[in-house]
């Protein structure tokens, strides 16, 4: 059973959890909760984009899928986060 | 069926149906002075609507026996019956509620009365589709000896055509097309009654003839 834990997926998992914990701590006692803090948001959104891409590639095994699937999923991540950040700055 | 006839006798209170032009106050007055009559009609109407459903259900069974390529008409027929009857019963509720406490604010009474009339007219739409489905299923019957005689289909088409004008009672307050107008009200009731009676007789014949080959409902 444990032979499976030395799987590349677990490394991805470790990375994801580490990043989540980091962003959790920064958000908890980072900038004051009531201020529009641009840097935190951009960092958080970037981390979320990276996490999303990691999940898609490794967990959903899209890395080895045909190119059109890789393109659509990567495209979705890029377009979504670009729109999110765009709207965020547009409203500042 | 019998209930339908009985209600018809009690119906006279409604016989000169309220002309839509009445102002709310008069409507309230009308409700006040003959509440008992109205409540009687309401209770009976509920029973009638209930009793009509089995009649239409039997027609649905017969339609399912008609061999067309699929049972699309049976389903459409069942759905129409479901919708039509609920609308009919809703009309009673509105009258009942209005008559239940006639000393309500007249505007509310007249609103309830209007709503009752609206719902009373609503089944027109579904009855038309019912007749069309019935007629189409008879026309398209590829059965060697058709289950329904041809004239039943023609009869349905005529019934559907006659009912069409009464859908426009919503628009007019006076004249033939209004609630109490000759065309929409009286014609509709007569046609409906005749339709029910004729379907009843036709069913009696087909059910007896059907005795030979038992087929489950669609």
């Amino acid at each position: 059973m444990t032979t499976y834990l030395r799987n590349p997926l677990t490394i991805v998992w470790a990375l994801l959890t580490a990043v989540t914990v980091v962003s959790w701590l920064t958000a908890r006692d980072g900038g004051a909760a009531h201020l529009v803090n641009v840097t935190v948001t951009v960092v958080v959104l970037a981390i979320a984009a990276v996490k999303a891409q990691l999940v898609i590639w490794h967990f959903m095994e899209v890395r080895r899928a045909p190119t059109w699937l890789r393109a659509t999923t990567a495209g979705w991540v890029v377009v979504l986060f670009a729109l999110l950040i765009g709207f965020y700055f547009q409203s500042l | 069926m019998v209930l339908f006839v009985v209600a018809y006798l009690l119906f006279p209170i409604f016989w000169p149906p309220l002309s839509p032009t009445l102002s709310p106050e008069e409507v309230a007055a009308f409700f006040r002075d003959n509440t008992t009559g109205i409540l009687g009609v309401v209770i009976l109407c509920n029973l009638i609507a209930g009793s009509l459903v089995p009649l239409f259900a039997v027609t649905a069974v017969q339609i399912s026996r008609v061999t067309t390529s699929s049972s699309v008409f049976t389903y459409a027929y069942i759905l129409c019956v479901g919708i039509g009857m609920t609308a009919f019963i809703l009309a009673d509720y509105c009258w009942g509620v209005a008559a239940f406490r006639p000393d309500r604010d007249p505007q509310l009474i007249s609103l309830l009365n209007d709503m009752a009339w609206f719902f009373f007219i609503a089944p027109v739409g579904t009855v038309i589709v019912q007749c069309l489905c019935f007629a189409l299923s008879v026309y398209l019957d590829e059965h060697s000896e058709p289950i329904f005689p041809r004239w039943v289909a023609h009869f349905n088409i005529v019934v559907a055509a006659l009912l069409v004008p009464s859908a426009f009672t919503v628009l007019f307050k006076t004249g033939p097309l209004a609630w109490d107008g000759a065309v929409s009200f009286t014609l509709r009731l007569i046609v409906f009654a005749v339709y029910v009676v004729v379907t009843f007789l036709v069913l009696l014949r087909t059910v007896n003839r059907q005795g030979a080959d038992r087929v489950a409902l669609v």
Partner: protein, 190 residues
């Protein structure tokens, strides 16, 4: 097991209709996220104040719970594909266990909030919060059902149905992915 470098398979993991559903769902949730960001842009202060009242810790723990359950589900599919069914069942079981923890934690988060008077009606942020997390919760519950079907199939069927396992895994990863974005948008953003 890790040495098996699966060649660049041209086939999509799982049933193609599931991928249609996954991509469509991503697009729909994407629209919701963009709408959320647009309405957040109009009223930063309200969103920030109400956001401060959210329970960040449960949110973070939930993220980690979902990622771990995703890991085990992924390992389970790999095991199923390699044919060792008993391990696959156990891995999927653990994944299901973690997955089931998510709704429980969600309850611990919702109940005190609602008791504390925070309901969807209070303000726009909480409406977005409850609607989006509610929708996501429905997806999670559906995902749990799908995974239990996969486990039942692995345990009972003589030859494990690989594509069912992959479809279930793909759906579960999508649910995890959506939560990652939701977590960032609702809890961490400032």
């Amino acid at each position: 097991m890790t040495a098996v470098a699966t060649t660049a398979r041209r086939s999509i993991p799982g049933a193609p209709s599931m991928w249609f559903f996954v991509i469509g769902d991503l697009i729909i949730f994407g629209c919701y996220f963009v709408a959320y960001m647009y309405y957040r842009g109009q009223d930063h202060t309200l969103f920030l104040h109400s956001q401060a009242r959210l329970n960040l810790d449960i949110g973070a723990i939930n993220t980690i719970v979902l990622i771990t359950s995703s890991l085990f589900v992924a390992l389970g599919t790999a095991a199923a594909r390699a044919g060792t069914v008993t391990d696959a069942v156990r891995l999927f079981g653990i994944g299901l266990g973690f997955g089931a923890a998510f709704p429980l934690l969600k309850l611990f988060e919702y109940v005190p909030e609602i008791v504390g008077g925070v309901t969807p009606g209070t303000n726009l942020f909480f409406m977005f919060y409850f609607v989006m997390t509610g929708m996501h919760l429905c997806h999670v519950l559906l995902g749990l059902v799908v995974i239990s079907f996969v486990i039942r199939n692995l345990r009972t069927a003589p030859t494990p149905n690989i594509s069912l396992a992959e479809t279930g895994a793909t759906y579960w990863h999508m649910v995890d992915l959506l939560w990652l974005v939701l977590f960032a948008l609702l809890y961490l953003m400032r």
